[in-house]
């Protein structure tokens, strides 16, 4: 029975979480449109939601998958508090964005040079569904035992 409880290997969990991460990123893309339609994004100084046009749309989805792989590496350890850790997992790509990708693109730390603190707030808000959706999808695919 114990063998049955650990049917998935680390590689399988990582591959499954790659797909789950893509779903998490898709949730972020959709959420950006929801925020824009509701007038929240414009209020925070954001002029457009995430582009749905090809090839722009594929980039966030693919990166969501890559962040999903990292999530898959520790999903088994985090299984008992999956949704809490999943929700907090958004901090990983956000920190990379704030401390690496945005400064590299010239927007400064936390994107403060691009749109001030409101832009930083928007980035936190728009990315909020990522971790929890990744966790929910991973849980739905993996089942009861990781």
């Amino acid at each position: 029975m114990n063998a049955m409880q650990t049917t998935l290997t680390l590689m399988q969990r990582a591959a499954i979480c790659f797909a789950a991460g893509v779903a998490g990123a898709l949730a972020v893309v959709l959420f950006s449109h929801l925020l824009f339609a509701s007038g929240i994004s414009p209020a925070l100084g954001v002029k457009a939601p995430v582009s749905l046009k090809s090839p722009d749309i594929y980039k966030p989805l693919f990166w969501g998958g890559l962040w999903g792989i990292l999530f898959g590496l520790f999903i088994k350890t985090a299984w008992d508090r999956l949704y809490l850790i999943g929700f907090l997992y958004v901090l990983a790509p956000l920190l990379a964005l704030f401390l690496f990708f945005l400064p590299k693109s010239g927007a400064g730390f936390f994107g403060l040079q691009a749109g001030g603190p409101m832009f930083t707030l928007y980035l936190v808000l728009v990315n909020l569904p990522f971790g929890i959706v990744t966790a929910l999808v991973a849980r739905a695919i993996i089942g009861k035992n990781p």
Binding site: A15, F18, A19, A20, Y58, F62
Partner: protein
Amino acid sequence: MNTMNLSQETKINDGPTDKRRQEASMEDKDSTATTLSQRLAISFAAGVVGAMAVVIASYVLSWLGLVVKGPIPFPIALKSPGIYQPLFWGGLWGLLFGLLMKPAWKRLYLVGFLYVLAPMLATFLFFLPMGGAGLFGLKHAGPLFPFYVLLVNLPFGIVIALVARALIGKHP
């Protein structure tokens, strides 16, 4: 007491049978170790790897001097965000492969190798004509072009099959 003894005898007799049943049950569970959704997710990831193999193949052929000009530029540009498109579509084609992986398990590598025909047919008969390049892209290219596209894409299916097999293990 007789009843007790009978009961105990029954238990003793059932012991090994139960064990055999449990073992058989475990083997059954092992042989269906992954669910459909797990196979789909794994095949999605395998499809991305298959698409990476195609990107690499386009560069290898280019380095070898084998380039045929046409409506699809080769080698595939590594620039962002263009590079993510073929990788993501590789994943989507991987999903379809995941649907038929279990029935095809015994001939996975053969089916995998031939599976490249699915995206190729979609490209030649749907995407290229829709983009204005005509069937097989022949409006904007010579007759060698479809063969070249097929050659570049050749690793796709077999790489998906190899990666999926490595991830899933012995039983789908």
